[in-house]
Symmetry: C2
Subunit: 467 residues, 2 copies
């Protein structure tokens, strides 16, 4: 299957250029003003072509609780999240589809799903997400969210000695689960990948981290984890190790050029140096970090230190959306208040680079996706520059990144296959998806979280909040 | 003209309720589950009705430059803005329409347009915006942006003695212009209002402020200005007065219950007390304050001190959009990182109150608009809760405010007149607007601003940035 997008605007050094973009099979075969038309001709006039962005960190099943969790910090928000998590693989399938649709319609072609597992139905959970991503055709990296410690262990103890209940699944069983998941679902050739994604130091033992590193080496898979999202986690690392969790992960060998780390809000300068040395990737989730009051990740410092940075939406109940363009916009302009010298501020072109190539590198795919380059996979997005939200004509990339694009995505291709046309997803029935999401939910304003009731007073005490 | 919205969800204390909302002429005549159907019956099933929001500060003609101005702080950004400002009233008409369309499709029913005037065509500029707002039917407060000092005067002098060129228009001529504008355009009965809106202390003389206050008293009009948007402006007030600009405006009598003040980023505790005492309204423009690196306005402190707060998009080249829901979302969650106690964080219901009633109060319209109340004007918005972006069903207001609603506005009424139906603006031809915006613009990546070249080195020196 071949096609050629004719007369389309692409960014080049210092401006834009009108070219033909030729695709043979799943790869870009030519990019040039006079490149011959092969296969179907697609009209690119008044449209902008960019490499697909990577939604580099999310938890798809959080979609079921978006909008409902009150303003709370991560530790208490998690209590609410887990008390009401969906327990049915059919729901996992629907929320994975929803996550993919919103990602595709906001410029994303790849999603990293740090997937919350239904206890006792772990492989069924992964199978449901796998099915959704295969059907819709988005490139997916599924990282089953694994841990071997209980939720209360993620909150610093302070001066108290707290007994934590044992986690529902042993370390060995968890690693076996990952082996099974890899054997059954890892199919990079069709765009479905399994990654090793321990939750983070707050909920994982050393044995679990080591097991993940081992599996990553054996199967050549990426590593992924949360890192220093909250002040409480920084405090916890001091309690657990007596030193920084970044140093801890480096010592274990968890930080590599194919490791991506979500959040990275509370790193100090020494930690940043380690990230730069190990070539690990920071996944910036600005909306979640604001929503949960986690803080502002020092993205300008990361860039200055040479650390690779990408963008993620994070799960839909800490955002509460999967609009990648919104995450990119806010994750770019947010840092203008952290550094008074505007010469350090992120430009829209740099944001595009972070969202595409930055995301690709973090998934060890920098040679395959992330830029409009002959020989790379045809993972790209065509934006309609006659959309009201991209008018009047000024700098198309400036307006795409700094504005609020609405219905601006005309078409999306992944692996050379067209998934979106005329702003509509073509591979699944979105009306049916809406119908199912509607029927399997109900309006509600408040819920009572038992776990939240149990841990709130300890949280307030240890975080030195008024009681 | 009467109508009744049947079986629609509205928020009530502690939850939601399904009611009929009856409108006679331009006012709400009943809200009750069993209210009889009068006039046209409109199906409100699976829809949420909320009072219209107020886009409480924008500059419509900035739409022509959205996306094109690089990441710069206000003072240098302004140089770029003014070097390329549109000089044709036809363009003012189009950008006012564009501003209104985006405001309406993101929940707004009222816009405050701090309107940049074309030199020598001041009344023609106001006439163009007036025509646009009358045609589309949005409630508008037009505040011609007036000043009597030149742009260079807005940058602190530091240790230099700088000569500023006289401004192009005298104080007396400016006040006469405002008298003419009031006589010709102020028609509150049809929803078009003129307000007195000196730029701010950085560009206005005492005589201009006093003249505005006088006219406001004579004609019972609102006052509006920028206030302490940047650190440079705080420095400038010290240079000019030796004390805070809030104290200065209070002394003049500019701060009243019908005064709204855009930005308010750099106020200290004494300033906040003055705002609370005078009952002036803060207009929070979070996206602009991030984009220009101005800072985070202390909104939680304002709320704790009892200061009324509303939301604005600010002009479209410092945002770079007019999506009011985005401004509300970011302006709500942004403050979670400024106060570690989550019990102080803004809830989605409080955000709705600020966006509607907060905006209404700042325009001296608290008795007329801002809530779903029998007797008030029918200025309200019907949201489609079957939009993918508002699914699954959770807390509708939570998801509307914290999510990223897309095509979620089903219908909008202003003054009892329907302006939007099925997510389409009905009063003007939006395709024709897009065509005009397209034809009267061109893609470009960079421009060379003469004024920016002239002032940048002085700005860097006085703001103590590396040279």
């Amino acid at each position: 299957m071949s096609f050629t997008i004719q007369n389309v605007l692409i960014p080049v050094e210092g401006g834009y250029k009108i070219v033909n973009v030729q695709v043979e099979g799943d790869r870009i075969s030519a990019i040039a003003p006079e490149a011959p038309i092969i296969g179907d001709a697609i009209d690119g006039k008044n449209k902008l072509l960019l490499p697909g962005f990577v939604n580099a960190h999310t938890h798809s099943s959080e979609m079921w609780q978006r909008g409902i969790i009150p303003p709370l910090p991560l530790e208490l928000w998690l209590a609410q999240l887990y008390d009401f998590a969906p327990l049915n693989p059919d729901k996992i399938y629907l929320s994975a589809l929803g996550t993919a649709v919103e990602t595709l319609l906001s410029g994303g072609t790849t999603v990293v799903d740090h997937l919350v597992l239904i206890p006792g139905q772990e492989l069924e959970t992964i199978a449901a997400a796998d099915r959704a991503y295969r059907e819709i055709g988005i490139r997916a990296f599924i990282g089953p969210l694994i841990q071997d410690e209980s939720l209360t262990a993620s909150i610093p103890s302070g001066e108290n000695l707290i007994e934590h209940a044992p986690y529902i699944r042993s370390t060995a069983a968890t690693l076996q689960l990952m082996k099974d998941a890899i054997a059954r679902f890892h199919q990079p050739e069709i765009g479905i990948n399994i990654i090793l994604a321990p939750t983070g130091i707050q909920l994982c033992s050393e044995a679990l981290f080591k097991g993940c590193i081992e599996l990553s080496k054996t199967h050549n898979l990426c590593l992924h984890a949360h890192l220093l999202e909250t002040k409480a986690q920084k405090k916890l690392a001091q309690e657990k190790y007596g030193f920084s969790s970044v140093k801890y992960l480096q010592n274990l060998g968890f930080l590599t050029s194919h490791t991506s780390l979500a959040h990275c809000v509370w790193l100090d300068d020494d930690d940043i140096t380690i990230l730069a040395e190990t070539q690990a990737t920071v996944v910036h989730n600005p909306l979640s970090n604001l929503r949960l009051g986690s803080g502002i990740a020092p993205i300008i410092k990361y860039r200055q230190a040479g650390v690779n940075v990408s963008f993620g939406c994070d799960g839909a109940s800490s955002n509460d959306s999967q609009d990648l363009l919104e995450a990119i916009k806010i994750g770019s302009i947010l840092h203008n208040i952290t550094d008074f010298d505007y010469r350090h501020w992120i430009t829209p072109r740099q944001s595009v680079e972070m969202a595409s190539m930055g995301g690709a590198k973090g998934l060890n795919m920098g040679d395959e996706i992330g830029s409009l380059t002959v020989g790379k996979k045809a993972d790209f997005v065509l934006y309609d520059l006659t959309s009201l939200s991209l008018l009047p004509r000024t700098d198309p990339i400036g307006l795409l990144i700094l504005g609020r694009p609405t219905q601006a995505v005309d078409s999306v291709w992944v692996n050379g296959k067209q998934i979106v046309a005329k702003n509509q997803v073509k591979t699944i029935n979105v009306d049916e998806l809406r119908k199912q999401l509607f029927e399997q939910s109900q309006w509600i304003e408040e819920r009572n979280s038992q776990t939240m009731n149990e841990i709130e007073s300890h949280y307030r005490k240890v975080m030195k909040l008024e009681t």
